[in-house]
């Protein structure tokens, strides 16, 4: 993985970020730099705090009842966690693709046009151009071009997620956050979505939260491993995956591979408390530890 100049310039700096749900601390002083125009994967078992961290970037955490945070996240010299930060501008600049595809109760066209419209674009021809462009970028245009006026909820779930991608980038963000964007998708749709993401990193800084290590390996240039609210290890993906420095990272990655073997083929390190790997595309098989009772990832 090349660590060239463009990525090193102007990274997103996460400084001392802690997150709380009520009195419980779910993120413990995270310090991390996220390079621009790369895909950075935040990995870790369910409930480790990775979604909470993601929700800090665009201040979606403000909408979560009982959640609070401290620290700084510096994007282009601005602290997005600052008291007087312009939250709406931050959200335009930092898009989010949610775990579950959530089309708005509108037509396909109106879903993509939603963002541009709230920023004042009224010109029909211009909107048509925008919608077409971003549907093309999201790899959905060919499938929906003849039924743009039909309800978005009639799309398949994989198409819905690509529609959400098109809607997210139609407001021209610089950073795209993806919160386990394929966990609700079937394998074929997941693959399709991943390919779309790979194409997008030329233009966007992508931060993807995933408990699917294989996905992280396929996509990520950089990786950060979070466990029980703590940043354990981060760095270029190849380094972290092939040569993890921390024992816990090692155990997590190794655990995943052991779990992938058929039960009779290999000994399971079941006694290891950190061994809860995920199986591909199947979040239900996760044995992640829930840090706060009743508060699992994506809640």
């Amino acid at each position: 993985m090349t660590h060239d100049a463009t990525a090193a310039v102007n990274p997103i700096r996460i400084k001392d970020v802690s997150g709380f749900y009520g009195p419980s601390r779910v993120l413990d002083s995270i310090n991390l730099e996220i390079p621009r125009n790369r895909i950075t994967a935040i990995i870790g078992p369910s409930g480790c705090g990775k979604s909470t961290l993601l929700k800090c970037f665009n201040r979606l955490i403000d909408l979560v009842e009982g959640a609070s945070y401290s620290g700084q996240i510096i994007v282009d010299g601005v602290d997005v966690l600052g008291k007087d930060a312009d939250v709406l501008e931050i959200r335009r600049k930092i898009g989010l693709i949610a775990q579950k595809p959530t089309p708005l109760p509108l037509s396909i066209f109106d879903n993509v046009a939603y963002g541009p419209r709230i920023y004042g674009q009224k010109d029909r021809a211009e909107l048509e151009k925008i919608v077409r462009h971003y549907l093309e970028v999201a790899g959905l245009w060919e499938e929906v071009k003849d039924r743009l006026k039909t309800p978005a909820i009639n799309l398949s779930i994989g198409q819905q997620q690509r529609l959400c991608l098109a809607r997210g980038i139609a407001v021209d963000p610089e950073i795209l956050l993806c919160d386990e964007p394929t966990s609700a998708l079937d394998p074929v749709s997941s693959q399709h979505f991943e390919e779309q993401l790979k194409l997008l990193k030329e233009k966007y800084t992508i931060v993807i939260v995933t408990h699917n290590i294989h996905q992280a390996m396929r996509l990520a240039d950089y990786v950060a491993y979070i466990y029980l609210g703590e940043l354990i290890e981060s760095g270029p993906a190849a380094e972290v995956f092939e040569n993890p420095k921390d024992e816990r990272t090692k155990a997590y990655i190794k655990g995943v591979f052991l779990n992938d073997l058929p039960p009779e083929a290999g000994e399971r390190s079941g006694s290891n408390p950190e061994d809860f790997g995920g199986r591909d595309e199947d979040p239900d098989v996760q044995h992640g530890r829930i840090l706060v009772p009743g508060l699992s990832e994506g809640d």
């Binding site: 979606l60 898009g95 109760p105």
Partner: protein, 274 residues
Amino acid sequence: MKGLMIAALTIVVGSLIAIIGVVVWKGLPSLSIEMLTETPRGGYYTSTGGGGILNAIVGSLYLAFGSTLIALVISVPAAFALQDEYLGRTRYAGRLRLALDVLWGTPSIVYGAFGFIVMLYLGIRASLLGGIIVLTLLQIPIMIRAMEEVIRMVPREIKEASAVLGATRWETTTRVVVHQVAPGIITAVLLAFGRGIGDAASVLFTAGYTDSLPGSLFEPVASLPLAVFFQLGMPYPEVQARAYTAALILLVIVLLLSLASRALAKRFRKNILR
């Protein structure tokens, strides 16, 4: 258990059929073009007059549409204000809901009596305006609570999907939530309209009754529920039959409106995840 269910359903469907059946059976014979197009001749309380009950039909439509419209204008903002993003998480929201529930449960004769006192105090006599005001008060709690239940059911993910694009909560409410709740709002309006057009007690003192068509906001108006009430109380079978005709017309108006609102709600529902 199965027997209980069947019994319950039989009672429900049976009474519906019985009600419609009796009203049609008793009301249909007196139904005529004259009934629908003329005002009563010689007073609604005599058997000799003839004529129709156009005064009550028009009066009821004025009263019900007028009050539904005003109640709608007041209820929509109030119901949206009870969302979590606005007042919903404050203690005022809970108190407001309680107050509305109490108002919803208040018997309409109490509304009528209250309206009567207010009108006496203000020196207004029974009139279309008085009726509209009292019916508006009667409808508001029904509308707000029914709308608010629907608005509260809007999935948080949808509001978040709008928020993450940089939409304000106002934009989210007016451009997204509204689409999601439109069918529910239509249902709420219908529910309130049905209560308004069918209520006799609240308009008894406030709107009065008259044999002529409503002339102005400040004159008394007739209404279908009172046409039923007064005519049924007369000792002449011919007049009593006219009461059933008025009931039949009332039933048909509500039925037509239900069908229309269902068709309307269906159009709005196509974009919504069920």
